[in-house]
Amino acid sequence: MHNFGILYRYELKKLLKRKLVWVTGVIILLLSVAVVVGNLPMKYYVDGVVVDTYYNMMKTDREYARQLTGRAIDHQLLDEMQEAYRNVPWNAERYTLTEEYQIYVRPYSDIWAMVCQIMSVMEIKDALSQEINENALYNRRMEWVEDFWSQVNLTEGEKAYWREKEQSLTKPFVFGYADGYWKLLSSGQWLSVLVILYAAICLSDFFSKEHALRTDQAILSSRLGKKHLYWAKIIAGISLLAVYYVLMVMVTAVAAFGLYGSDGADVMLQISMPIYSGTLRVGAAIFMMYALLCLAILLTGIFVMMLSEVLHNGIAPLAIVSGGAVASTVIGGSVQHRVLTQIYSYLPSNLLNVRCGFQPLLVPFLGRYLTLWQSAPIFWLIAAGIFLVVGKRFYQRYQIGGR
């Protein structure tokens, strides 16, 4: 069909012949693994002396957490936890190194972390001075959640939607170990920034280079150069990113599940994010995160290629896209400006940030509400379509003059 396959292979060849594509690819894959692995290969020092490795500490915590897996965070578990915490000599200089802490408290550290988030306490002593029972905990959580809904200016309809979701949540929450999934979820934003950087580095001059090399004259005067080649280039660019995405999914999943374990796919998101009101489980959340990461890299690739053609420059798209992605990791949205926050949240590098992506902001769609993660693919596909049309228009209308 109009030599599309041949043109596609040649366009892919142009990309794969570039050392930059391979070198950047390897570096970014290594960085992705580093993001997931975190500090596990490092040693834990106290006063300059190695106490343990982070990997060993993770294994110990994992073992304790697995022992608690399946238990409801109810009155009985909260009592056990508080009793354990009362055994710790809080006046010791480093109470975390005491035998009492290691034996009695450490097994409950995950539960404790969730309780502290809900009770809004930072100091253990402060928490111990309060009566933490099941009713108080879940009531406090609900107050916190409702406060947050008001802060982010949810409409009554949105609040009703989330209240309904709250009704269907199992309470008390059931604890489960799922650190492999949590690690991937919390790495979402950095993984998205890294794939965006890869797309920007590899494709920023994919179209503009034809003008710089002056091959555009022979191309655009050929029979298939104005129409079919545009699509062959787009599909080649997308293919490169799709293959890279698969590699990234594989290495990050292998790293996370290999080190932390793959158990816990059905654990409630509330265990790590008590403020979340949805019914999504961590396994499904990871599936959605990877699906969004795939769409994010494709959208970015199309956007970069469009900029490359529109600006006839390889540096500007690289600067715009990579600068934007990195900036979004340090600039947060403002809860006071609902619309701006919501638009800002749809940037791929923001949406895959768990704190941003799981905000309760909703979009009404065909008589129902969609969450940010549900509505993003619709907006992204529309945006991709617009970028493709704009890029094609500039490509086909390019005039070679004044050289």
């Binding site: 030599n3 040649y10 091959t215 004259q217 655009l220 005067s221 029979r223 298939l224 005039q399």
Partner: protein
């Protein structure tokens, strides 16, 4: 087969690069002469459909220069011919053949023929970045001929060719001109004298001469120099 250029102009802000040119070209070799900035390249780019005229139309047997059908009958060697440094000569021709809509089998056969014709057979598997200027120019000529074009537009085709290659090239063009419309621009008047059936001369965007040139009219180079004052040609 007829190329019709009808009242074509190209204006850039305050400058008119091509000013209301009209002509009909049939089979044959047309030599386009003119000083730098006369508008030759602009006219050729418009004929190749990569630059839109401000006014006027360009058609080949009624097909507009913007159409895919028009481009399928066109061969073009740009003045500043670009190439992919990491492609081999053969790869480049096969890629261009695909762009011209040729089948894979035809492309391989024709590319091999043309590489032989432009004396690049031995270098066909070498990367273009290792080619000399003359080799690149010959590769450019080969790509323009891939689809056996009915309209062949060559912008400064002999630049970078050594004298022996130029003679070979002239013969090749003369042969192609028997079946196609060949429009070539050059500063080298002797090239035009040897192969062009018709001379076109441009000055300040206008066509100042359009017709055959024979010895009875005198020396073409002297006429050319007269038109362009003190500017020199390089024979």
């Amino acid at each position: 087969m007829e190329l019709t250029i009808d009242r074509v102009s190209k204006q850039y802000k305050n400058k008119i690069a091509v000013d209301n040119i009209s002509m009909h070209l049939d089979k044959g070799v047309y030599g386009l002469l003119g000083a730098n900035g006369a508008g030759k390249t602009t006219l050729m780019r418009m004929i190749c459909g990569i630059l839109k005229p401000t006014r006027g139309t360009i058609t080949l047997d009624g097909l507009d220069a913007e159409t895919e059908e028009y481009r399928s009958r066109l061969g073009y060697l740009p003045q500043d011919f670009g190439y992919y440094p990491d492609f081999t000569g053969m790869d480049f021709l096969l890629y261009m053949a695909a762009l011209k809509g040729m089948t894979r089998i035809d492309a391989r056969q024709r590319a091999a023929e043309l590489l032989d014709m432009v004396a690049l057979s031995e270098a066909r598997k070498k990367k273009i970045k290792t080619y000399s200027g003359g080799m690149k120019q010959r590769l450019g000529i080969a790509q323009a001929l891939l689809n056996e074009p009915e309209l062949l537009v060559l912008d400064e085709p002999t630049a970078g060719l050594d004298p022996k290659e130029r003679v070979r090239f002239r013969n090749l063009i003369a042969e192609i001109g028997k079946e196609s419309i060949v429009l070539l621009s050059t500063h080298i008047v002797s090239d035009i004298e040897h192969i062009a059936d018709c001379v076109l001369m441009m000055k300040d965007g206008q066509l100042i001469y359009n017709g055959k040139w024979d010895e009875t009219q005198g020396d073409l180079e002297a006429f050319y120099l007269k038109q362009f004052g003190e500017e020199k040609s390089y024979a």
